[in-house]
């Protein structure tokens, strides 16, 4: 076989057929890790769809600057103001056209939200408005009033999550997305590629990239290799093992946070000392630069540091096996059965090296005297353990999970993960419920301060979970591009930000 390969290779080399693709200098190729099931604007919050659709094909009213400190920026909305009583008024940008030639107006905004709330299709962005009823009032073509019940202090921020489609869009998933963005989808060959072409009639600045081809390869080594071989220009989500080229491989915090969810209703984790012992048993530093890439940060909150109200005073629990043993002994002395089995449930392919991380965690727990075992499951089964109602078990289960919040506000995380009503919460503490409710309703600096309090309370006072790492994403970018991937690359990949050297 080897001989055969060599022969074929030699043949190829001698006939000088380079497999590189013929393309214009301003065309780029992006290789993604999984194929898109849909190219539906209202599903753009799903990260693999978002990387193609969000702000490339379809735009939102507002846009959050997750990298810098510009906060919430106008996109299709020029400006917005709180009219009180839960109503926000948005002034829309003038002169914007959809790629099908129709003009963007307030009715499109209303229709886009109607689609999100429709029961004819299951749009992802609906979840951000779980308990909020929105009423849209078209004031004029370029003005729309949105009334939220109950009042929603972060409504303009939520507007950055809903893409705007023309009012002709049917109440079903579409395969030919029409948007206001700088690109239009010109080809979608299922299983192979998606091609976006630059629009000439875009309302904003013309981006440098004229055409983007998206390919799909699940193997990180292949993705990285494609950039190295010149077959692709950008490969998001490669692994540390294949990121061996300083010139092309970028690492950046990717807004994902890895943690172990503790069920505080189960013995023995109902005892705070046991939860503290779990935290103290882990040598977090040892993971970084080994099984996790350099640049990974220790987490003190469920959300990344760029989020509103992130509490800089918190520090990660120190690695102290002696302390862990001591805490366990004390708990045992008080009648807590610390010999109950603890099963760490982790999901295969959750993040690179998840298996190694899980195995190391279990080993660390066992070294301080826990009776921990590991159970690796695939995604559907993981969901059973992760979301309520939790299955019964002898002892307890710690669920290793990864949470993503790149939205800039903790409201997208804290209720789900810590409220007694939260679907993935292991906490049942009235004070936490109250703190979250207060913070969610607040605005401005008060909101930030209140969130800080919540972070401190769950981290230091009740030790709700084992927070581990803010993860680092790695992307490979061809040297011909002037582009630095950032935290935003996890959810979207704005072609407009890409330049050429």
């Amino acid at each position: 076989m080897i001989l055969k390969h060599v022969l074929i290779g030699a043949l190829l080399a001698s006939s000088a057929v380079a497999p590189a693709m013929a393309q214009a200098d301003t065309d780029i190729t992006v290789v993604l890790s999984e194929e898109l099931d849909l190219v539906e604007p209202c599903m753009a919050t799903r990260s693999n769809i978002g990387r193609v659709v969000l702000q490339n094909i379809s735009e939102t009213l507002t846009e959050l600057d997750v990298r810098g400190d510009k906060g919430l920026m106008p996109r299709l909305a020029d400006s917005w103001e709180d009219k009180g009583d839960g109503t926000w008024q948005f002034k829309l940008r003038d002169g914007v056209k959809f790629s099908d030639g129709t003009t963007f107006d307030a009715a499109d905004v209303k229709h886009s939200f109607d689609r999100v709330f429709s029961d004819q299709l299951t749009c992802e962005s609906k979840r951000y408005f779980a308990d909020t009823a929105l009423t849209f009032t078209v004031v004029d073509d370029l003005t729309v009033d949105v009334k939220a019940e109950p009042a929603q202090p972060v409504l303009p921020l939520l507007m950055s999550l809903v893409t705007i489609v023309p009012s002709e869009t049917p109440m079903e998933f579409v395969r030919d997305p029409i948007g206001t963005g700088p690109y239009v989808m010109s080809e979608w060959t299922a299983g192979q590629q998606i091609v976006l072409d630059r629009r000439e009639d875009y309302w904003g600045t013309q981006p440098a990239v004229t055409k983007a081809t998206y390919l799909f390869r699940s193997e990180p080594a292949v993705r990285a290799g494609m950039v190295a071989a010149g077959e692709a220009d950008i490969a998001p989500q490669i692994t540390a093992e294949v990121a061996d080229n300083k010139a092309t491989d970028f690492s950046y915090l990717n807004s994902e946070t890895v943690y172990l969810r503790i069920d505080s209703q189960d013995a023995p984790t109902s005892d705070i000392r046991v939860r503290q012992a779990l935290n103290a048993a882990i040598d977090r530093e040892a993971f970084i630069g080994t099984v996790l890439p350099e640049g990974t940060e220790l987490a003190v909150a469920m959300v990344p540091p760029t989020t509103l109200g992130w509490n800089p005073d918190l520090s990660p629990p120190a690695y102290d096996p002696e302390l862990a043993k001591k805490l366990l002994a004390e708990a045992q002395a008080d009648g807590v059965d610390v010999s109950l089995p603890i099963e760490v449930v982790a999901r295969t392919e959750n993040f690179p090296n998840v298996t190694e991380v899980s195995e190391a965690l279990v080993q660390m727990f066992n070294e301080v005297g826990f009776k921990a075992t590991l159970r690796m499951v695939e995604v559907a089964e993981h969901e059973q353990y992760y979301s309520k109602p939790y299955p019964e078990s002898e002892g307890t289960r710690l669920v290793l999970a990864q949470h993503d919040n790149s939205r800039g506000d903790p409201v997208f995380s804290m209720f789900f993960k810590y409220s007694s009503q939260g679907t993935q919460s292991g906490v049942n503490d009235p004070k936490v419920d109250e703190l979250i409710a207060k913070a969610s309703a607040a605005t401005g600096d008060e909101r930030a301060a209140l969130w800080s309090d919540v972070f401190k309370y769950v981290h230091d006072d009740i030790v709700a979970d084992v927070l581990l790492f803010h993860m680092v994403g790695l992307s490979r970018v061809s040297e011909r591009l002037d582009f630095t991937p950032t935290i935003a690359t996890n959810q979207q990949l704005q072609l407009a930000e890409i330049g050429f050297k």
Binding site: P220, E241, V242, V291, T348, E349, E359, Q363, E378, A380
Partner: protein, 307 residues
């Protein structure tokens, strides 16, 4: 051409005193294979007890240590894995689960498949048709789906993995057995047994099974490799054996991300699979001859030039 059969043995053959062991010794390749397999079985039996702790002792800061370096002790001779555990010790410990999964799946599939095949081949047309349709259904049922169903409903464990792999392999044995039985039951000596009044059970057990068995054993040894690889593939797809269980297939799959940086993680377990397969193949070739009285003389003879 009746007189061309010069290899026909003289009536006075040498006494059958040659034991299996000395016959094995005559075929050097088969002998080596047997030694290798014995070693693997020993590893499987004793490995976890002797090296279980060593194989799981992690050292995050000393991960992926390169092979052929004795500085960290013999266990690291083949290098360390991605959690700093000694490869050699892990390979030895993994032998048990690997062998359990492969042998379990092959033996279970062989037993069920052969039984159904015997029934299908020996019984009437209706029974045979029902069984064959069943085999068709199993054959078109993708093993991936079986794997997901079993793992989702029953959980990922070694016995369940055996179940998954066994189900997918049953049709091979079933079809082979049936085809052979259909042929063997027409042979003269089976009819001779019928004429003597032998019961169905006796004919199956004494006359048909011994003739069919060598073919099945040969397929089983080849299947052994197939099952090890299938298990590895399922691990690759994330629906196979999961840590903390450990098999060679899983090790290859886990070593995959490190192919360019730490090749030894995936290579050694792969080599183990290849060696086991080779040894099994060579041994099964030998066994086919050794178990067949009409061919055994090839191994009893003094010269071994035709091995």
């Amino acid at each position: 051409m009746t007189d061309q059969s010069l290899s026909k043995t003289p009536a006075i053959a040498e006494p059958r005193s040659t034991s299996m062991l000395s016959m094995l010794w005559r075929d050097k390749l088969a002998f080596c294979s047997a030694v290798v397999l014995l070693l693997i079985v020993l590893c499987a039996l004793l490995g976890p007890a002797l090296l279980g702790d060593l194989a799981t002792s992690q050292n995050l800061r000393g991960r992926n240590s390169p092979p052929f370096d004795l500085a960290r002790g013999w266990a690291f001779f083949l290098g360390g894995d991605s959690l700093g555990r000694p490869m050699l010790a892990r390979l030895i410990v993994a032998a048990r689960s690997t062998m359990m999964v492969a042998a379990g799946a092959v033996v279970a599939a062989l037993a069920v498949g052969a039984l159904l095949g015997l029934v299908a081949g020996y019984m009437g047309k209706t029974t045979s048709q029902v069984i064959m349709r069943l085999a068709d259904v199993i054959m078109s049922f993708p093993s991936l789906l079986i794997a997901v169903v079993v793992l989702y409903v029953l959980g990922p464990s070694i016995p369940n993995m055996i179940l998954v792999l066994a189900i997918t392999r049953i049709p091979i044995y079933l079809r082979t057995t049936r085809a052979e039985v259909l042929e063997v039951r027409e042979r003269m000596f089976v009819q001779a047994a019928v004429v003597m009044g032998a019961s169905h059970w006796r004919i199956i057990a004494r006359h048909i099974l011994p003739v069919v068995a060598p073919t099945l054993v040969t397929i089983a040894t080849l299947d052994f490799a197939f099952v090890m690889l299938a298990e590895s593939s399922l691990s690759f797809l994330g629906i196979g054996i999961q840590p903390p269980d450990i098999t060679w297939g899983l090790m290859v799959s886990q070593g995959r991300p490190y192919l360019t940086t730490a090749w030894w993680l995936a290579l050694w377990p792969g080599v183990c699979i290849v060696i086991t397969t080779l040894a099994l193949n060579l041994l099964s070739n030998w066994m086919r001859i050794a178990l067949d009285p009409a061919q055994r003389w090839r191994l009893e003879a003094r010269s071994t030039k035709d091995e």
